[in-house]
């Protein structure tokens, strides 16, 4: 059993995107607790990959492949988690690029970095309307709503979400980012956190859910 969990961890660290789902299926068949497989296997694996990326030992595509491998195994293991139990995550993040804005690369990187640091990430894509952000935040019971805007003309869209969101719930935190966004601007519109790159986005998210 311990072997199967270690093997899953290794599979994330080796970016075994194509074959990891079979490993996960086999682990379930062998009676491995899916929660243990996720927390001690996948999460540990991706953490190691994330640390290597942080130290500059591996390149971004390797980090992304690690995250993809984790996702593939999660798709098998999560449905097997008994009802009422939940995998422990660092928190749930809802992320998207705001309406009228289609820049997605930065947003995708932030998603990947958050996922590889134990967050559960729901990615709404690009050109996400304010009402969609609000609806999904409610549905998904997200701890954090994260918004990306890359243009001066679409930055104000973030404020459009924050005001009603905060009115509805004090608990949900908001973080924002994207090239033209600054710390000052983030504060001005009432966001709880801002970061200029994907690695510090993780620190900010961790601080917000603490």
């Amino acid at each position: 059993m311990a072997d199967a969990v270690a093997r899953l961890k290794e599979a994330v660290m080796n970016y075994e995107m194509e074959t990891i789902a079979d490993l996960a299926k086999q682990a379930l068949k062998d009676g491995v607790d899916p929660l243990v497989a996720i927390e001690k296997g996948l999460a540990e694996g991706i953490k190691t990959v994330g640390e290597k990326f942080g130290r500059g030992e591996i390149f971004l595509p390797e980090l992304v492949m690690g995250a993809e491998a984790m996702k593939a195994a999660l798709a098998v293991l999560e449905p097997a988690v008994p009802k009422g139990k939940h995998r422990s995550t660092a928190g749930k993040v809802l992320i998207g690029t705001v309406q009228d804005d289609i820049h997605e690369i930065g947003k995708n990187l932030v998603s990947t970095m958050l996922a590889s640091n134990g967050f559960e990430v729901v990615d709404l894509g690009v050109n996400v309307s304010g009402s969609d952000f609000l609806k999904k935040a409610d549905e998904q019971k997200a701890n954090i709503v994260a918004m990306s805007a890359l243009m001066t003309t679409t930055m104000p869209r973030m404020a459009e979400v924050i005001t009603p969101l905060k009115k509805k719930s004090k608990a949900v935190k908001v973080m924002v980012g994207g090239a033209p966004v600054t710390d000052t601007y983030a504060k001005e519109i009432g966001a709880d956190g801002y970061s200029g790159d994907a690695s510090s986005a993780v620190e900010v998210a961790k601080r917000l859910v603490r």
Binding site: G56, F59, L60, P61, Q99, D100, I102, I105, G106, L109, N127, S129, M151, T152, T153, P156, E160, A179, P180, T182, Y185, D197, A198
Partner: protein
């Protein structure tokens, strides 16, 4: 002397057969993979002309013959006119023109050195600097007027530019039909009417395609409008090798080419003969820092190869140049030198552009002046050399003879005057003693001095009050509450 940079030297990266393979590869991608077209109007246009359109995925497969048809309709020679005709840039595949970089959102205050959101006064000042400098030929509003109402920022950018340079203005802010309408109206006003604008377009618009293999609805709807109204367009692909395009530069060129050619096809179907410039700026994503590597050798090479491809099609090119440096100085110079040298050596027609740092995000006024010098140096490198009676100078060699010098020769003076020897303004060639006596200034210090001088001394004739009133009216009309309900998505 003709406006622009004369090109006498050209280096070649791709062979004719490489270019053919890229072209056939692109047609294959367009037929087999297709492109996602979010604009309803564009999908209809393509469907009516025999494309295979999937309304659910919005993916359109474009047959080769249609692309080849569009390539025949394109214009090979386009003139981007200046408010002052001495600044007319003739894109004739034989001259190169440098443009300013555009649309950053941050500026470092020239007085206080503080990094802050950009303002309309930054557009005013940078426009005057561009107007003055000799080696920057086409203007872009370099930053956004973020101190103006969000719905009219881009119009204020254009207003500030129109008033502070007589050079041609290219913008990239026409991303909805209503933006396109206001911008076009301002262009017509600047030219003195629609007919005048169509004859001498004093403004043009650059539009980005959406890598990989997509076209934004608002951008394409606006593009069709611009094409119809006679506003020249650049379609600018920008897959990032390794991220939104294959890691190989040629692979990313195929992706970008498929985007540009499909945009060209839609435009020519809608407005046959429209002026379209071939654009591309493929800078890789730096895989350690996750920053787009503007100014990298790969960026320069991609821009150079895109130029070769554009010329293969008989189209003028507009290719990307930028830098990731955070402040003016050594890194910015290294990146801009690399970025400009690649495409200029390959014969790029337009390069966008110089003067912004942090990969087209942050404006330092003095960087514009530094980049002007960089372009000057490279212009000399590519001017070309030739052997004729004048350059061989056999008569002078005979006259001077053995063991004397050429200082007191008319031939020497003539060729200094004609630009045979590049005369730097910022590069300091003085002796150590005179340099240190003059304050041991760095190149950046000297650029700041020159910037100060330009701002204090260079005047640009403003628009007359009649024209200005019309411009103001357009801006006033466009002002709307931010969430007025216009969405670009179909």
């Amino acid at each position: 002397m003709a406006y622009g940079i004369k090109r006498g030297v050209r280096f070649q990266i791709l062979s004719e057969s490489d270019l053919d393979r890229i072209h056939w590869g692109t047609l294959h991608v367009l037929e087999k993979v297709g492109v996602q077209v979010d604009s309803v109007a564009c999908r209809k246009l393509l469907k009516d002309n025999g494309c295979d359109v999937d309304e659910k995925t919005r993916i359109v497969r474009v047959p080769s013959h249609l692309v080849e048809w569009a390539l025949e309709k394109k214009k090979s020679s386009i003139t981007l006119a200046g408010r002052n005709p001495k600044y007319d840039a003739k894109l004739d595949l034989n001259h190169s023109y440098m443009t300013a970089n555009g649309n950053g959102a941050v500026a470092v205050d020239f007085e206080t050195g503080k990094r802050r959101p950009s303002m309309k006064k930054d557009v005013v000042n940078s426009s005057r600097i561009i107007d003055y400098l000799q080696n920057v030929h086409i203007h872009w509003p370099m930053v956004s007027s973020t101190d103006q109402h969000p719905s009219t920022m881009h119009l204020h950018d254009l207003d500030a530019s129109m008033n502070n340079t007589e050079k041609h203005i290219m913008y990239e802010t026409g991303v909805t039909i209503s933006d396109a309408k206001s911008l076009t109206e301002m262009g017509y006003i600047a030219a003195g009417g629609e007919k005048e604008f169509r004859q001498r377009p004093v403004q043009s618009c650059l539009q980005c395609t959406y890598a990989p293999l997509q076209h934004d609805a608002g951008v394409m709807d606006a593009s069709l409008y611009f094409a119809e109204m006679g506003v020249p367009l650049v379609f600018f692909g920008m897959p990032q090798p390794g991220a939104t395009g294959p890691a190989t530069l040629v692979g990313s060129l195929v992706v970008g080419n498929a985007e540009v050619l499909s945009a060209l096809t839609m435009t020519q179907l809608h407005a046959p003969g429209a002026a379209v410039i071939y654009g591309m700026g493929n800078a890789p994503l730096d895989m350690r820092t996750t920053i787009r590597a503007g100014g990298s050798p790969e960026h320069a090479l991609s821009s150079a190869m895109a130029t070769e491809l554009a010329h293969h099609y008989g189209m003028p090119s507009c290719v990307g140049v930028s830098a990731t440096a955070k402040q003016p100085g050594d890194q910015a110079i290294l990146e801009y030198y690399t970025g400009c040298a690649g495409p200029l050596l390959a014969g790029a027609d337009l390069m966008c552009g110089i003067g912004l740092l942090e990969d087209s995000s942050c404006l330092f006024y003095e960087q514009i002046v530094i980049d002007n010098e960089i372009v000057g140096v490279i212009s000399r490198l590519i001017r070309g050399e030739w052997a004729d009676d004048v350059t061989l100078a056999l008569d002078v060699i005979e006259k001077v003879g053995v063991g004397k010098n050429y200082l007191a020769q008319k031939h020497t003076v003539q060729h200094l005057r004609s630009g045979d020897h590049f005369m730097p303004e910022l590069i300091d060639r003085r002796s150590f003693d005179s340099w240190s006596a003059d304050g041991s200034k760095s190149l950046v210090d000297k650029a700041r001095d020159k910037t100060k001088w330009i701002l204090a001394n260079h005047k640009v004739p403003a628009l007359d009050s009649d024209t200005q009133a019309k411009v103001n009216a357009v801006i006033e009309k466009a002002k709307k509450p931010m969430w007025g309900g216009e969405t670009k998505r179909a």
